[in-house]
């Protein structure tokens, strides 16, 4: 039973893999950004801190209602 658990754990862990720096082409695409739409990201960065109550968590934040 213990051996089966070890084998299963190792099989699950095999899903975690190190990506070599020279193999990151797929990860370097625009769609992999957390905010892929640049026009929307400035809007998001204004609204997000207000919605989440995380003022100042990103770059400079001057307060406000998030409506501007």
């Amino acid at each position: 039973m213990k051996e089966i658990l070890i084998v299963l754990t190792l099989l699950i862990l095999s899903g975690c893999t190190h990506v070599a720096p020279y193999e990151k082409e797929g990860l370097a695409t625009q769609k992999m950004l957390s905010a892929p739409m640049t026009t929307r990201s400035s809007f998001d960065s204004h609204v997000f801190p207000i919605r989440e109550g995380s003022f100042g968590a990103e770059s400079g934040f001057s307060g406000g209602c998030g409506c501007k």
Partner: protein, 170 residues
Amino acid sequence: MKKLKQCLIVLLFVTTSSFASAEVGDKAISFALPNLLSESEEIQMKDYDDGLVLLNVWASWCKGCKKEMPFFHKLGKKYKQDKFTVVAINIDNKSKKAKGFLDKLNNKLDEQAEITFVYDKKKSMPKAYEAKAVPFSLLIKNGEIIKTYLGSFDENNEQDLIHDIEAALK
């Protein structure tokens, strides 16, 4: 038996970290790869056995790689008479993007970049050198690595490379 099992499990977690990356004093790894701009032409490492080479691994999806190309062009031009060559190995999955970038670069420079561009679709060179970053560069003199550089060159470290080249050319 129990100890053997434990050893096997530990071994399973030991990954490729045991492989050494390129180090000063190592022999440059030989290659025979197509020219990025004219794939029928083959470029080999042994073509540069008696000279100074800056071997650079780059990709069009890497911002730092693209940013340092005009600097490499300047170096290639400045030290051309001293048997110095910049060999830039592209590792894009499709050469089309890299060629598109080179077209833009040549237009920006107003001349053909003084760099030898090689295409390594299988990424055999970064694999062989166990590259820890992209871009990475090696300064190779007479087939031997004399300096390694991780990451891109900018205004903070460009002078270091110029200094290394001039020291190697003496």
